[in-house]
Structure formats: C-alpha cells, structure tokens
C-alpha cells in the first residue's frame, strides 16, 4: 500500500485490530476511583496558594511593633483603609476565579475548554498584578510618611539630598517588585505555554 495517497490510509486505519493494551470493566472501575492529575487540578492548587501566600506574611509580622510604627508615622487610618479594600478585592477575585473554575468542563469543545482554562489562570495573573501595584502604592506611602516625619528630618545630616533618598528608595522598591513580577511570569508561563500554543493553533489567523 502506498503512503502517497492519504485516502488509502483510511482503509489501513479502519482495518487496524484492537489495541494491544485492553482494559476490563473491573480495570475501569479501579481507574474511576483514582485521582486526576490534570493541569486544571494543578492550576487550582497553585492558584489557591497564590491567593493565600501574600496574605500569610501578616502572620509572621510582629503586630505590636507594626502598630507602633503606623502610629508613629500617622499611618494607622491609611493602613486600615488599605486593609478594607484588600479584603474586598480578595473576595471578588476568589469569586471570579471560582466561577471561571466551575465553567471548566471536559465536555466543552476543544477551543472553549482551552479558553476557559486560560481565563481561570488569567484571573490569578490579575490578582498578582493587583498585589504588586498595592505593594508599590503602600511602599511609596510609607516612604512619604517616614521621610516627612520630624524625627527623620532631624536625624538627617545637613546637606543630604532628599531627591537622592527618594530616587534610591524608588529604585529599590521597583527592583523588588520586578523580581516578584519576573518570578510570577515564569510560573504563569510554565502552566500555560502548551495551552496558549494550542489555542493559537485553533484560531483563524494562525499558521499551522
């Protein structure tokens, strides 16, 4: 049989015997009991960790000294507002994530399923970006409060440039946020590379 003609391959395909690997009904019953190790399960685990971990930092902070620090620089009310916003934002993100997660179904069309998984993961991406932004804003807010405090101003040697202090502070803050962002990009890409490639392969303008 020639491999030249693809039509003739259909006969070859149809006439192939049963697979050498065969499972009995009993085997299938056992398989059904096992746990899935699908990408969706991993996305759920990793995402929940990502929701929880940034907030766990609070558990390791010394509450009293933090409170004294906030009071010293008049940040107590500001931080309270940030906390309230943060809780609302987290609940909203978890709700959206859960809704997207529930939508994922192996019975969908291939394209819809790929899209649904990517969408679920994207929610977490935005959550991380929100966290980085809020960290940046709080950081700047703290710098401002500390640098403008009387105690800090008094401790400065004469001739110290405030502009220089600000530039260095912002560079260090940006660097810290950039490292977090890069780390996250790698983690995000690790899970989605294959899915994004397949999604692109299904869209109209992609070269197969």
């Amino acid at each position: 049989m020639s491999m030249e003609n693809l039509e003739s391959l259909k006969d070859l395909w149809k006439n192939q015997g049963e697979s050498k690997i065969r499972y009995s009904q009993n085997d299938i019953h056992k398989m059904v009991q096992r746990k899935s190790s699908s990408i969706v399960k991993w996305i759920l685990i990793i995402s929940l960790l990502e929701f929880i971990l940034p907030n766990l930092i609070f558990l390791f902070t010394d509450f009293d000294s933090t409170r004294i620090f906030y009071e010293q620089y008049g940040l107590s009310n500001t931080m309270l507002i940030y906390s309230a916003i943060h809780i609302i934002v987290i609940i909203t993100f978890i709700y959206v994530f859960y809704k997207n997660y529930r939508n994922i179904s192996a019975g969908s069309t291939v394209k819809i399923l790929l899209g649904d998984i990517i969408k679920t993961r994207r929610t977490v991406k935005y959550y991380i970006y929100y966290n980085l932004t809020i960290m940046g804003i709080i950081g700047l807010n703290m710098f401002y409060a500390v640098y403008n405090s009387v105690s800090f101003q008094n401790s400065l040697e004469t001739g110290t440039s405030m502009l220089m202090i600000w530039v260095i502070s912002i560079i260090l803050l940006s660097l810290a946020l950039l490292i977090f962002w890069l780390f996250y990009r790698i983690l995000y890409g690790f899970f989605l590379r294959k899915l994004k490639r397949n999604y692109a392969a299904l869209s109209n303008h992609e070269e197969l």
Binding site: K10, Y23, I28, V40, G107, L114, R197, L202
Partner: protein, 164 residues
C-alpha cells in the same frame, strides 16, 4: 444510583475503548505514557458522564473528552522523544526495514501523526476516522471553513512526513 451509573459507564467504555487507545497512541510515544493518558481520559470521561445526555453518540462524545484531555488537561510526566529522532526512526524503518505488512505501515502512520502538533493530531485522527467537517468543527469549536483550511494544511504536512 452512582453504582448503577458507574456500571453502565464501565460497560460502555469497555466496548468503545479502542477509540481512546487510538488517541493515546497518537499523543504519546511509549506504553507507560499511553496508560497514563488513558487513565486521565477515563477520569475526565467519568467526571463529565453525568452531564452526557445522549445529545450526540457516546463515541462522538468520547472523542471530544479524549481530545480535550490530550490537548488541554493532560500533563506529561515523562520527557518525550525529540521530534528529530522520530523522523530518523521513520527513515530507518522505510529504508532498512521496509516491507508491505499493514502493521509496519500502521506503525509508520502513528509515528507520523505523533510528529504533528496537538491540534493537527486531532485533525489527522478525525480525517482517518472519516468524520464530517461539521463534526470536526463541532468537536474543535471552530468554523467549518476554518476546519477545512486547517485540515488541508494537516493533510499536506502528513503527506510530506510520510513521503520525505
């Protein structure tokens, strides 16, 4: 009720398992990975089974879930053989080991399918199964026109791999 449903499911799956084996053989390159993928497809089929209302044939629905698992849900646990190596094996088989037996031809065909990308694999399988463009489009979730364009490209690619 669940017990009954599970029994019905196991019975149908046992009967139609060859469909899944074909998908597994196309998406993996060793027996361990084949079995691993079969396991995951079975779990996904079982999870989706209560929602299967018989709006399509059981085998059509199985195809969709099997492709979804292979394309989107399955995470390979072992590194796969590099594509170049597959091409080498292909040539080797053709020049040194060539005979007309259907089995050898089938092996070559599976190797060729394996070297395609994930979406092309699904297209090639559905072509060989003689599925209509309507069904292909419905399974993948794309338009029939798009399905035709992609199918033509896949066929050309498959032809080039089989006849280098």
């Amino acid at each position: 009720m669940t017990k009954e449903l599970e029994q019905k499911f196991a019975k149908e799956l046992e009967l139609h398992q060859n469909i899944i084996h074909k998908v597994c053989r196309s998406y993996t390159n060793n027996e361990a990975a084949h079995k691993d993928l079969f396991q995951e497809i079975t779990i996904q089929l079982w999870k989706a089974y209560p929602k299967f209302r018989g709006e399509s044939k059981f085998s059509t629905w199985m195809y969709r879930v099997a492709f979804n698992t292979a394309i989107s849900l399955y995470r390979k646990t072992k590194r796969n053989v590099e594509t170049t190596q597959i091409y080498d094996n292909l040539k080797e088989l053709e020049y040194h080991d060539y005979d007309d037996s259907a089995d050898k031809q089938l092996k070559l065909l599976y190797k060729a399918i394996y070297s395609l990308n994930d979406i092309e694999k699904a297209l090639a399988l559905m072509y060989l199964e003689d599925k209509s463009y309507k069904e292909i489009a419905k399974t993948l979730g794309i338009s029939e026109v798009n399905a035709r364009v992609k199918m033509n490209r896949t066929k050309t690619k498959l032809k080039n791999i089989l006849n280098p």
